[in-house]
């Protein structure tokens, strides 16, 4: 299933989406299938699978550590596509990675490999719209969504430029900073949601870790809630991982469903 269809399905039920991020191959390549299934069982509507990079500048300590674990366990771009292709899922999968891995593989090859593996969208946190022309065009011609980030610091002019080129959903960064679980939802989220005017679904991420926050973000107008580090923390703990991932996904989705809009 692709991303626009998923959002159509959810909109018909007046429901916002839960987007779960985990780093592929963390802690081992074999673990990822079970992790993804647990997230889906708990209620994840879309799963972002990070392709780990050695120098993830947009990520906080949690995802940095996950990237290091995955890389030491042997994850690389070839294994990533192989593994993603083998996943038995009926929801959209999104690849999140840093630009050098795409550049090195060759932009077209990366997009084609993504498509073949069943990936519906690509997010590149270190690729601003100005540098993205080639990748964006390649995504369009292959029907893969190219998802941009919009930050609280993004100017109106840039928001318009990004809206012109993005598809799938808009990844609204809830606060300045790197990824990582936090206990409150920033005021900047509300403001940013009202500044971005578009029909493309708006997903809010960075810092969301529990059902209460998820509910608040949806009540502020988000079409989707993105949660990463809170899931990765569970994986890092190594204890009862899949059951706890499922439980957290359920808590988040319940929070989303309980929102009054």
């Amino acid at each position: 299933m692709n991303i626009p269809d998923k959002f159509l399905e959810l909109r018909a039920r007046d429901e916002s989406a839960l987007i779960a991020y985990v780093c592929a191959g963390d802690p081992t390549p074999d673990a990822t299938e079970g992790i993804v299934q647990a997230l889906i069982c708990g209620g994840a509507d879309i799963v972002e699978l990070g392709l780990p990079f050695s120098d993830p500048v947009a990520d906080g300590p949690t995802i940095q550590a996950a990237s290091e674990r995955a890389l030491s366990a042997g994850m690389n771009s070839d294994k990533y596509f192989e593994m993603v292709a083998s996943l038995d899922v009926d929801i959209p999968l999104v690849c999140m990675t840093y630009y050098n891995l795409i550049f090195k593989r060759g932009i077209e090859k990366f997009v084609l490999d993504s498509k073949d593996a069943g990936i519906s969208g690509i997010i590149v946190p270190d690729l601003p719209v100005e540098e993205s022309e080639e990748l964006a065009e390649c995504c369009v011609s292959n029907n893969v969504d190219f998802i941009f980030l919009i930050a609280p610091t993004t100017t109106e002019e840039r928001i318009n430029m990004i809206l012109e080129h993005g598809s799938g959903f808009m990844y609204l960064v809830s606060r300045v900073g790197v990824t990582g679980a936090r206990s409150d939802v920033a005021e900047s989220t509300t403001k940013l949601l009202s500044r971005v005017k578009t029909d493309i679904p708006k997903a809010v991420g960075f810092g969301i870790s529990n059902g209460k926050q998820a509910k608040e973000v949806v009540e502020d107008g988000a079409d989707a809630v993105i949660v990463g580090s809170a899931f990765v923390d569970i994986i890092a703990s190594g204890k009862d991982v899949n059951a706890r991932l499922e439980a957290l996904a359920k808590e988040l989705k319940d929070g989303i469903l309980s929102a009054k809009r």
Binding site: F53, D55, V57, L71, F103, P128, E131, T153, V176
Partner: protein, 396 residues
């Protein structure tokens, strides 16, 4: 806006959060770089605080031994012991004019961190420096110097625990505190406009050489040699001479313990010599990477050259053949370190020792010509501990 590209290299590959900050920096730089008030203050700091101009010293003993006239541009005499202060003075002033109150920086050898601590203390900034755990171990004196001047030094434990990881961490800090903070990058690397700004502030080196060599020799040199990690001392001395096409420019990289690569690491830091096209720390340039694009750890005896990337403008100049990338390994640098100390009474930084080592290797072939200027980018006091350890058979 000025162009962000050097040929195919350069650009701005950073998180969206930082794009407005880069635009603001570019705007600030364009506004103040020719502002008489700004330039007056810059001159004042370069002269009275940094101790410029630095001498262009004729190394008579070295010249005699190698059969070519060798001059040393004495950046080791700049306050703090290296060329790094030229850039931190410029950027700190710029940050002050732009109304920033906090400065973050990365450091490898600790020289840029120290220079940042100096201008930070002097101009009243809250100053934070990120430094890899491995570098902290090999440069304890610089860590203490920074702390003395009121700088907060953060240990970076991620990745290879060296310069590249310190840059990652400084970028993360900037992403988080972008509103009041200036990221004072220490080399001609990173997203546009940094490579341009750092090059411009370091060009004082080459501009002085132009006048000094005319005064002493009545002509420009045949070749200019500089060590290259990120490449700020190299761009600083090269830039004013780029249009003088007869002058050969040599960028000497760290050959480390061998020009080979293991699975996760290069045994050298020679990204200009053998790196491949890629994107690191906000810029497209030549980098050390594996076949998937994962960044390889680098190695050098000198922390200041131990970096997996290189400034995008240097990559461009290498591509078009305007400069010659070359390398000197750990042992050659160490030998040059000793030789300059003994022959001229000047203890060079291990970084600068690579430039010296290349001249010692290449002088006899004649490729350097009859008049050579070496950028002696820093002094070696900070390296004594490393050298002592090595001579006792230790590992670095």
């Amino acid at each position: 806006m000025t162009t962000s590209l050097y040929g195919k290299y350069g650009g701005q590959f950073v998180p969206e959060i930082l794009m407005p900050a880069l635009a603001e920096l570019e705007e600030g730089y364009q506004r103040y770089k020719d502002d008489p008030e700004f330039l007056k203050e810059l001159d004042y700091y370069l002269k009275d605080f940094a101790g410029r101009e630095t001498p262009l010293y004729f190394a008579k003993n070295l010249s005699k031994k190698y059969g070519t006239r060798i001059y040393l541009k004495r950046e080791d005499l700049v306050h703090g012991g290296a060329h790094k202060l030229n850039n931190t003075i410029g950027q700190s002033l710029l940050a002050k004019y732009m109304g920033k109150t906090r400065i973050v920086a990365e450091t490898g050898a600790g020289q840029h961190g120290t220079a940042t601590a100096m201008t930070g203390a002097n101009m009243g900034f809250e100053t934070v420096v990120y430094m890899g755990a491995k570098d902290i171990e090999r440069q304890l004196m610089n860590v203490y110097r920074m702390k003395l001047m009121g700088t907060e030094v953060h240990t970076v434990e991620s990745g290879s625990k060296t310069l590249k990881d310190a840059i990652n961490e400084a970028l993360r800090d900037w992403v988080t505190n972008v509103e009041n903070t200036h990221y004072l990058i220490g080399s001609v690397v990173g997203p546009h406009p940094y490579p341009m700004i750092v090059r411009d502030f370091q060009s004082v080196i080459g501009n002085e050489v132009k006048e000094q060599i005319m005064e002493k020799e009545g002509r420009y040199p045949d070749s200019i040699v500089a060590c290259t990690g990120g490449g700020s001392n190299a761009m600083g001395i090269f830039h004013p001479f780029i249009e003088e096409k007869d002058i050969k420019l040599f960028a000497v990289e760290a050959g480390g313990s061998g020009m080979t690569t293991t699975k996760h690491a290069a045994l050298h830091s020679a990204s200009l010599c053998v790196g491949e096209d890629g994107v690191l720390h906000g810029a497209r340039t030549r980098i050390l990477q594996d076949k998937y694009g994962q960044i390889l750890e680098s190695h050098s005896i000198s922390a200041g050259l131990d970096y997996s990337g290189v400034g995008p403008e240097l990559a461009y100049l290498a591509d078009i053949g305007r400069l010659t990338p070359c390398h000197a390994d750990d042992d050659e640098a160490l030998a040059a370190f000793h030789e300059l100390s003994r022959m001229e009474g000047i203890i060079p930084a291990l970084e600068s020792s690579h430039a010296l080592a290349y001249v010692m290797k290449a002088a006899q072939s004649g490729e350097l010509g009859d008049l050579v200027v070496i950028n002696l980018s820093g002094r070696g006091d900070k390296d004594l501990e490393t050298v002592i350890k090595l001579e006792q058979g230790g590992q670095i």
